[in-house]
């Protein structure tokens, strides 16, 4: 049967989009705080003030005339990322990893002329990739030198760690691995592989590609099960602190592991996707209920991290 019955999903504790919106994001995420999360620049500013590391910001393009100064911002840099400040779902992000004469080399190997790049930045400013099509800003930041542990299981692009934080308690996590199909991006709906992570140990469990389970990376063929995510406890506490900082009750925290700088915060998401449940082979609902029951006694960040490592260990 290609269908599951609603009862079976309920027993599995699956959180689906209607419930996420009606019972979680709408109630626990105050509208006023959204700009902090939706605008990646605002997020950067917010977390840097509290000492959380982020990828270095190289430059900012706020108005079309500044797009002409793109060369100045980029200087001689070879590795950089251009992002829309208010983009969603990875839209409008370009990752560069080299140069060839006057052109820039994208992480997928394609070349992009300076003129094309400027046009892309202008599209970003026009609001082509932003939520609701409002005018936007573009920024250039460093391309993370990701930790070698994921080298064999990434195709171009930068793998990241997505942690769902509920009431400032990390509840579920996955590693997102770019593939050829996702064009170097770490978004699952674009074809990246999501790999569930054991909350207790930081070891990867099974993966998911689209809606189907996988055990190897589709491009490199390396097994994706049993990898140890470095600095696991630190990642969890970073995620928990982001929950505190933003005041968002239901939050997706995207972190990357730089081989030198360690964990960096990439972005926050007020409407994180639900495929993380497929990657972990487990529903979110029981975990959310457990946190809701016991949240009042978990004061400190350390308490919350310990709580999630103890309670949400993989079976």
């Amino acid at each position: 049967m290609r269908w599951a019955l609603p009862g079976a999903l309920k027993r599995g504790g699956v959180l689906a989009i209607n419930r996420r919106n009606a019972h979680y994001t709408q109630f626990l995420n105050p509208r006023k705080q959204y700009p902090l999360v939706d605008d990646k620049l605002a997020t950067k500013r917010l977390v840097m003030d509290s000492g959380i590391s982020v990828p270095e910001l190289y430059g900012l393009v706020e108005a079309p005339y500044q797009a002409r100064n793109l060369d100045q911002i980029l200087q001689e840099r070879e590795n950089f990322v251009i992002k829309p400040a208010r983009g969603s779902g990875g839209k409008g992000i370009l990752v560069f990893s080299g140069r060839y004469k006057r052109a820039y080399r994208l992480s997928n190997g394609h070349l992009m002329e300076a003129e094309e790049l400027r046009h892309h930045v202008l599209d970003i400013l026009g609001g082509l990739f932003s939520l609701g099509g409002q005018p936007d800003k573009a920024f250039v930041e460093e391309k993370v030198n990701f930790d070698p542990v994921f080298e064999a299981v990434s195709y171009q692009g930068v793998p990241d760690v997505r942690i769902i934080v509920f009431m400032a308690v990390p509840v579920m996590a996955m590693v997102r691995l770019p593939t050829r199909r996702s064009d170097g991006k770490a978004n699952l709906h674009k074809g990246a592989v999501g790999v569930g992570v054991d909350m207790a140990t930081g070891k990867t469990l099974g993966g998911v590609l689209g809606n189907a389970p996988v055990a190897e990376h589709p491009d490199t063929g390396h097994p994706i099960v049993g990898l140890q995510v470095p600095h696991w406890e630190m990642l969890l506490s970073l995620a928990a602190r982001c929950g505190d900082l933003t005041g968002m009750g239901y939050l997706g925290v995207d972190l990357v592991l730089d081989r030198i700088k360690g964990p960096l915060l990439l972005e926050l998401n007020a409407r994180p996707g639900l495929n993380i449940q497929i990657a972990n082979g487990a529903g979110l609902l029981p975990r959310l209920e457990e946190v809701r029951r016991e949240r009042c006694r978990l004061r400190e960040v350390e308490d919350r991290v310990r709580f999630s490592m103890e309670r949400f260990a993989a079976l």
Partner: protein, 509 residues
């Protein structure tokens, strides 16, 4: 959990259903549109050029017949004297004037009502048979025709049909030729058949009529009638097909031996008949009842608006129905369409173009627009100017398609102009982005999903009972609002979730 939406939904649906039931039960508004109208206005307009001398106009006018009754007749004929000549059910209006010059214009108006079938008289008295008037060679030829028709038939019905077939044989025919000129009209043929049947003593006649359906220029239809078993049976005088009784097919007839209108003392005679069906009897009664028992309700209802505005609201009130369908498709089924209400607007356009043409036009417009959009990509235009260029080309395509299809005689294609062009432009831009970001497969999915949603919306919105219900009972939209509130707080699984999260439910087992 906050339950206020439940109470609001309950109150809203209570209000809506209450008003609906009051209108149905107390005022007697019909819930289902009567499929056949029961009142028609029939109007015949005669124009001709008078020669300057005395003029006499003879027009065949309808009389009561079977289940149809004529009333409220009026004759508009300034300066003319009018007499009405009645022979049983056959009636003629005769206008005459001593002197008339130039263009003349006469009107006949009548109201036709359908009676319930039970009032139908069972049998009519057999009419007298006209003398056949054949002699000599003509009599021999007529008898030969009758003999052949008889030899090939078993009863009266099949004999009449054979007769019609013989008379209508492609010429020249040795049997028919002596009796009928080569260029004989339908009327000439029918008159000949009447005379041939008179040889057997069977009464027959020719009738003209119009279909009782909304039309500005009704086409005259001929019926050859033969008196059989106490009734006039109807045949098509050319195909010999047996037709149902006039009342049943809403055919309104008058005598047809002479033309509909004959004018002495005039030329360039033109006669056209218009038919207009009116509000159903039950609805009219309900509104009249409402005016006396609850004047405010009717005074402040859609029926108080001018007819043109009413027609606009007939369409506008369908939009919420389509939007509700989109709510169901998106929040309960989980189909991702491109743009929230785009399918509803496309469906509105489909109403005019009809579904197959609509889909062809929509797909071709989007494909052409996408082609332009991909060409524009090389020019590296800014976002808003680029959208405007796409909008301009969309309008250009509309004009081109309209002109082209008009020349090809494809009437439906002309209605491409009804597509909401701004929505089309945004759709094209969105498809283009989806194409670049997520590839052709996702674009195709979105396109097909949007088109499927539009088709669903069209099917619901163009289903006549739905349009009738929301127009006559707009309070039902409040009920739709109540259901929308409920769906707005529905936190269960969508149908798409059942497929998407199947892997997890298996693990739990």
């Amino acid at each position: 959990m906050n339950k206020s939406h439940l109470y609001i939904a309950l109150i809203l649906s209570g209000l809506g259903l209450g008003l609906f039931l009051y209108k149905v039960l107390a005022l007697g508004f019909p819930v289902v549109k009567e499929t056949k109208a029961s009142i028609w206005y029939v109007e015949t307009h005669v124009t001709f050029e008078a020669d300057g001398g005395p003029v006499k106009v003879v027009m065949n006018i309808p009389g009561n017949q079977a289940t149809l009754r004529v009333s409220d007749e009026s004759f508009v004929s300034p300066g003319y004297g009018l007499t009405i000549k009645e022979e049983g059910v056959d009636r003629q209006a005769i206008w005459s004037v001593r002197e008339a010059y130039g263009e003349q214009s006469l009107y006949y108006r009548g109201v036709v009502r359908r009676l319930p079938a039970k009032d139908l008289p069972k049998f009519e008295e057999a009419p007298s048979v006209i003398p056949h008037g054949f002699d000599g060679a003509e009599l021999v030829a007529a008898k030969a025709i009758l003999k052949e028709a008889k030899s090939r038939s078993a009863d009266l019905e099949s004999m009449v049909q054979q007769l019609i077939k013989i008379i209508n044989r492609p010429k020249p025919d040795e049997l028919v030729a002596p009796l009928l000129k080569a260029d004989a009209s339908v009327r000439d043929k029918a008159l000949l058949m009447v005379r041939i049947l008179a040889l057997e003593g069977i009464p027959a006649r020719l009738r003209h009529g119009v279909k009782l359906e909304d039309t500005r220029e009704a086409i005259l239809i001929e019926r050859f009638q033969v008196f059989e078993k106490g009734r006039w049976a109807c045949y098509d005088p050319i195909t010999a097909e047996k037709k149902s009784l006039p009342g049943q097919e809403c055919l309104f007839l008058w005598r047809g031996e002479s033309p509909q209108v004959t004018v002495d003392g005039g030329h360039n005679v033109r006669a056209s008949t218009a038919v207009r069906a009116t509000l159903e009897q039950a609805m009219e009664n309900a509104i009249t009842r409402g005016r006396t028992s609850n004047p405010l309700l009717i005074k402040f209802s859609l029926f108080s608006l001018p007819v043109r505005v009413q027609q606009v609201y007939e369409v506008i009130l369908l939009v919420p129905v389509g939007a509700f369908l989109i709510v169901i498709l998106r929040n309960l089924v989980g189909i991702r369409t491109s743009g929230v209400f785009m399918p509803v607007l496309i469906a509105l356009a489909f109403r005019e173009t009809k579904i197959s043409w609509g889909i062809i036009l929509f797909v071709s417009m989007v494909l052409l627009g996408l082609a332009v959009r991909f060409l524009l990509d090389r020019l590296k235009l800014l976002l808003v100017p680029r959208l405007t260029v796409v909008l301009l080309s969309v309008i250009g395509f509309m004009v081109a398609i309209s002109i082209l299809t008009n020349h090809l005689g494809l009437e439906r294609g002309v209605s491409v102009a009804l597509f909401p062009m701004v929505i089309l432009t945004m759709t094209i831009e969105r498809f283009c982005i989806i194409w670049e970001e997520s590839g052709p497969a996702e674009t195709l999915y979105r396109g097909v999903a949007s088109l499927a949603a539009a088709t669903c919306a069209y099917l619901v919105m163009s289903w006549h009972p739905v349009g009738y219900l929301v127009f006559v009972f707009p309070e039902l939209l409040v009920v739709i609002m109540a259901f929308t509130l409920l769906i707005g707080r529905y936190s269960g699984y969508r149908v798409s979730d059942l497929v998407r999260f199947k892997a997890i439910s298996e693990k739990q087992r």
